[in-house]
């Protein structure tokens, strides 16, 4: 891996951080196997698995045929019988072919069998728009899986978190779904050496603030932080929370922030209607934090249309920094 190293901070890209986590996992646990389309000699469609096949061989880094349903089912069966598969969907959109195995089998087997089994399965979903891949290669479907009991659903936004959460997922006994925004893959950031885990189910307060709480997911956490800097220049002090986990959702962190700021905005890339922000909003609106709200709860989500190919249109249908700035300003200045 071409990693730029300095004594103080070691930086890796998001993709490199995932690869390092898988490398560590393959090294320390012989039960770990990687499965997916073109993850071997090709290195993965987004070069996430990279050269791992050369280090661990094709028995542990397995190219599957183009068979998403069957491949996911093989991973479920393997997880049920002693392996710890990490299954990569080439694009999260193709998970639509495997919902049966993910939702009817992996998520429910333990419950249906009265707790007799566990399914220690990790699935990886390259997701999101911004790459000009159009409607069938750009979706953000985390809300679907967030709706499903039995699953855990992660959306780490930094290299450090994605490494730590993937390693945490491998310590979890249940199916963990890891959504990776494709635009993040090349983003670099500090990543600690060696083995560590980042807790599942804990949101991160990326910026403390007094006037408004912005809960954002995945790539939107970065856009929200950018927006917060601009807002600071207007004396609007935004608290930015990176949700990190969709299921189970970190109620406490979000409610504590809303009690403090009295204003809530949810920013997410998935389609606004029935997207992750709907749950964040509803969770707050039914809590005691409701009494602390000084304004309506805003949602900035994806537009009510598929992702278009044209790059200008593509930008227009998901929240951008200026949209976040404007919405937050209006929310704080009471112009909703």
């Amino acid at each position: 891996m071409n990693v730029q190293n300095t004594p103080e901070v070691r930086e890796l890209s998001y993709a490199e951080a995932i690869r390092e986590a898988m490398d560590i996992a393959l090294e320390r646990d012989p039960r770990v196997v990687l499965m997916g389309e073109d993850i071997g000699v090709y290195g993965g469609a987004f070069q996430v698995t990279g050269d791992l096949v050369h280090k661990y061989g094709t028995d542990r880094v397995m190219d599957t045929p183009i068979s998403e349903l069957g491949g996911a089912g093989v991973a479920v069966g393997a997880a049920l019988t002693g392996l710890r598969p990490i299954f990569e969907f080439q694009f999260s959109d193709f998970a639509a072919l495997a919902m049966e195995q993910i939702v009817n089998q992996a998520a429910k087997l333990r419950y249906m069998l009265g707790g007799a089994v566990s399914i220690p399965l990790v699935m990886r979903f390259p997701a999101g728009s911004g790459t000009g891949a159009a409607a069938q290669h750009s979706q953000s479907l985390e809300a679907w899986l967030g709706h499903v009991p039995g699953l855990k659903v992660l959306q780490p936004s930094t290299p450090e978190d994605v490494k730590g959460m993937l390693l945490a997922a491998l310590e979890d006994s249940d199916p963990v779904m890891l959504f990776e925004h494709k635009v993040l893959y090349k983003m670099k950031g500090h990543v600690p050496e060696g083995y560590y885990t980042t807790p599942i189910g804990k949101a991160a307060v990326r910026r403390a603030g007094e006037n408004v709480t912005i809960v954002a997911t995945s790539l939107m956490a970065h856009k929200a932080l950018n927006a917060a800097e601009t807002l600071a220049g207007e004396d609007i002090d935004a608290e930015v929370i990176d949700l990190r986990t969709v299921r189970p959702m970190d109620r406490e962190t979000v409610l504590a922030s809303v009690r403090k700021t009295g204003r809530l905005m949810c920013v997410y890339e998935g389609v606004k209607t029935l997207g992750v922000g709907a749950e964040i909003s509803a969770m707050v609106a039914e809590s005691d934090a409701f009494d602390f709200l000084d304004a309506p709860i805003l949602r900035l989500g994806g537009a009510d249309c598929p992702i278009p190919y044209n790059p200008e249109l593509e930008k227009a249908v998901v929240p951008q920094v200026p949209d976040i700035v404007d919405a937050a300003r209006n929310l704080v200045k009471g112009r909703v």
């Binding site: 039960r31 196997v33 028995d59 599957t64 045929p65 068979s67 349903l69 069957g70 491949g71 996911a72 089912g73 093989v74 991973a75 479920v76 069966g77 393997a78 997880a79 049920l80 019988t81 002693g82 392996l83 598969p85 049966e100 195995q101 009817n104 089998q105 087997l109 333990r110 419950y111 249906m112 069998l113 009265g114 707790g115 007799a116 089994v117 566990s118 009991p149 039995g150 979890d172 006994s173 249940d174 189970p248």
Partner: protein, 334 residues
């Protein structure tokens, strides 16, 4: 040099094993009758799928399996459970929705599994078990356990995409799995003639470069011979096979079936071909058992079922406040 006039079963198994096989066939028959009766008496809600008439397929397919070997089963899976040595009391307890059931009353008839015995479970999704079986075979190969997986599925399931994807992966990776199609001529109301573009499902094995064979699924010896060969092949590392057991379900598809899609004559013709007396005659004519012993076996099976039902009836229901337990392995502290 075995005498090939003597049927495979007689040559291959000890008298004890053969007696045990016949006993299991009776147990399955009595179990299903007991389940049907319990259903009629309102002890079971929901629906269930009975395998009466298919006993030879279930028992014959598991003859060379140990508890280390795995099976994946279907919605019509009671016989498979019993063939894989399930506890009948815990099965009935599950039907009755009791905490002592295999699924603590949370799964019901369509989800019984017995992982200790290598039964990875029935499945409510037609074809759902096919890729899971391939995954179990992958584990066996990677972990070097030497275990073989027998994957039961129906004729209707063979038209699911999962069938195609599963058999292809099993073949390219040469995995130790045997695909056993229980072809009872219908997927619910739809005959294989109307649903499937080949006459025999075993013909589809060619599309995966694996051996495919069709046998009389009501002939215990024929089933055992075909599946044993496939299991041996899998165990020796030569990869998967497809075995098709031609059989018939005597009862309707489920409790709501009005049998509009098949004739009384067809049903009668198949009940003539009851696999259990055939098995009994085979053992009697080969002096493995006497007619009296057979009657004793049947009576004993009847008893065992009675006791199982009693156990189930006496068992406690799950606590309602625990309805949402067993979703996650590490349970969130409420």
């Amino acid at each position: 040099m075995p005498d090939s006039n003597v049927s495979y079963a007689i040559r291959a198994y000890s008298p004890e094993a053969l007696k045990e096989a016949l006993r299991k066939m009776y147990l399955i028959r009595k179990f299903e009758e007991g389940a049907e009766d319990s259903y009629m008496r309102g002890l079971i809600h929901g629906t269930m799928h009975l395998s009466i008439g298919q006993e030879a397929s279930a028992v014959g397919s598991c003859m060379s399996l140990t508890d280390e070997d795995k099976i994946t089963s279907t919605h019509r899976g009671h016989g498979h459970c019993i063939a894989k040595n399930a506890d009948l009391g815990r099965m009935f307890a599950e039907f009755f929705g009791r905490e002592t059931g295999y699924c603590r009353g949370r799964g019901g008839s369509m989800h019984i599994a017995d992982v200790e015995k290598g039964n990875l479970g029935a499945n409510g999704i037609v074809g759902g078990g096919l890729p899971i079986a391939v995954g179990a075979a992958l584990s066996a190969k990677r972990l070097g356990t030497g275990a073989v997986t027998v994957c039961f599925f129906g004729d209707g399931a063979n038209n699911e995409g999962a069938f195609h994807e599963a058999l292809n992966m099993a073949a390219i990776w040469k995995l130790p799995v045997v695909f056993v199609c229980e072809n009872n001529k219908y997927g619910m109301s739809t005959s294989t003639e109307r649903s499937t573009a080949v006459k025999n499902i075993a013909e589809r094995a060619v599309a995966y470069s694996m051996p495919g064979v069709t046998v009389d699924g009501n002939d215990f010896s024929a089933v055992a011979e075909a599946v044993d060969a496939a299991v041996a092949r899998a165990r020796s590392g030569d990869g998967p096979s497809l075995v098709e057991n031609m059989t018939y379900r005597w009862r309707g598809h489920s409790k709501s079936d009005r049998n509009r899609y098949r004739t009384k004559e067809e049903i009668a013709a198949w009940t003539e071909r009851d696999p259990i007396p055939r098995m009994a005659e085979l053992l009697i004519s080969n002096k493995i058992v006497t007619a009296e012993e057979v009657e004793a076996l049947e009576a004993e099976a009847e008893d065992t079922i009675k006791q199982a039902i009693e156990f189930a009836n006496a068992s406690p229901a799950p606590k309602v406040e625990e309805a949402a337990r067993y979703v996650y392995t590490e349970e969130p502290v409420a």
